[in-house]
Subunit: 245 residues, 2 copies
């Protein structure tokens, strides 16, 4: 690998910018492709460039053939992050599901009795107020947040902080009635309906979830849908996992 | 607890029959309520009987008040079981999600190189043929099965065995094309469209899942939906987890 490419990859990693490194496995030639830099990689064959952009969008490295040559498309993506406000019952399975799905997880709960290391072994915990933690965190398109406390004093400041950011998913636990009151408070504080429309509430896909683990599954399914599909609401629930055969 | 009630509870446990034990916390009086025995528990106040049946359906013990008295409704349910045919990439996160959601999991794969203890620590593994394992297992309304190998020699006999049973969920990995061929083979072998209509294929809720962990989430969400909701297909994807506040 040439020095300038290595330097760029390191810079991209530090600035959390997704990049695809396209390597011709025959000649060893390498090119970088970015989703947010349309001109980049234009010396590549059109079909190969398109496949590199797909790999970037899918967040998945792959080997492809083009015009008799073989290319390794290696995707380097910043980590996925999930902030969970509230160290409640649902939080315990949700942390484990999210870890398995590749998320770095931070649990924030200013109530020290809830967020302690015994209940959440090995999890990054904070007893600060969520708006303090979130205010100094990177809230980008690889970040999701859920608020689970039902307590406006804790959930609302967190929501107000993340509504100003680019996070790809915001979800809040609470019935339709609770969520309606929450929206009214946010509108009083100057947020538009377009802004608050980003909040998934009541949280989670409608799969009839009852136990904390099932609610955690419905939340992870909704986060996945928000990350992978264009429409944030309204999956039709029919199967889609075709696999390769 | 009176001897006859204890005997019944033990019999119910052995025969895997769900039962709710309703105890008057004042008088100590106890009554058993069954979902599949409409006449049972009719000496209870109507509202209390209804709450006991809801607790049974929700598989969740609870304390309720009725007419100034307090009752403990204790639900005894047989374990939830998940059989996974195929020790593939998706199987690893799926096993962990299912354990967290309270399922006993068995992974079946006659290909010994796939199903080994190193890849699945602490999981019940079988290298027998799935129809042999399933044929001698209890396949009841608390049992789900997924087939993930894409290999008709392995998946089909498993499906033929479970289609004759009461399992609450059957799902098969594979594209629409693969699934169409699978259905054609099953119909050739004498299964009706009504029978094969129970198979969720392509497997999983349509949440755009790509990685093995995401596909496992979509499968667990679909299993939860099948267990908890009347309609096996077609959740509308809107939020539902209201919580209590």
């Amino acid at each position: 690998m040439k020095r300038d490419i290595l330097d760029r990859l390191n810079t991209d990693r530090e600035s959390k910018r997704p990049v695809a490194l396209v390597s011709d496995t025959g000649s060893g030639g390498q090119t970088l492709v970015y989703a947010d830099a349309p001109g980049c990689g234009e010396d590549l064959p059109e079909e190969l460039l398109s496949q590199a952009r797909t790999a970037l969008a899918d967040d998945r490295s792959t080997i492809v053939e083009d015009d008799g040559k073989q290319y390794f498309i290696q995707v380097q993506s910043p980590p996925l992050r999930l902030f969970i406000v509230g160290a409640v019952h649902i939080t315990q399975p949700l942390v484990q599901f999210a870890h398995l799905a590749g998320y770095s997880v931070t649990v924030i709960d200013p109530r020290r009795a809830f967020a302690d290391d015994d209940r959440f072994p090995g999890v990054e915990l904070s007893n600060e107020w969520p708006d303090d933690v979130l205010g100094r965190s990177t809230l980008d398109r690889r970040t999701a947040i859920v608020t689970l406390t039902h307590d406006p004093k804790i959930d609302d400041p967190a929501l107000e902080t993340v509504l100003a950011s680019d996070v790809f998913y915001i979800g809040s636990l609470g019935s339709n009635r609770t969520h309606g009151k929450r929206l009214a408070r946010l509108h009083e504080n100057g947020f538009s309906e377009q802004q608050t429309g980003r909040i998934h509430g009541p949280i989670g896909l409608n799969i009839g979830a009852k136990s904390p683990a099932e609610i955690a599954i419905s939340i992870m399914a909704e986060i996945t849908q928000a990350r992978r599909m264009a429409t944030p609401h309204g999956a039709d629930g029919t199967g889609s996992n075709g696999g390769s055969a």
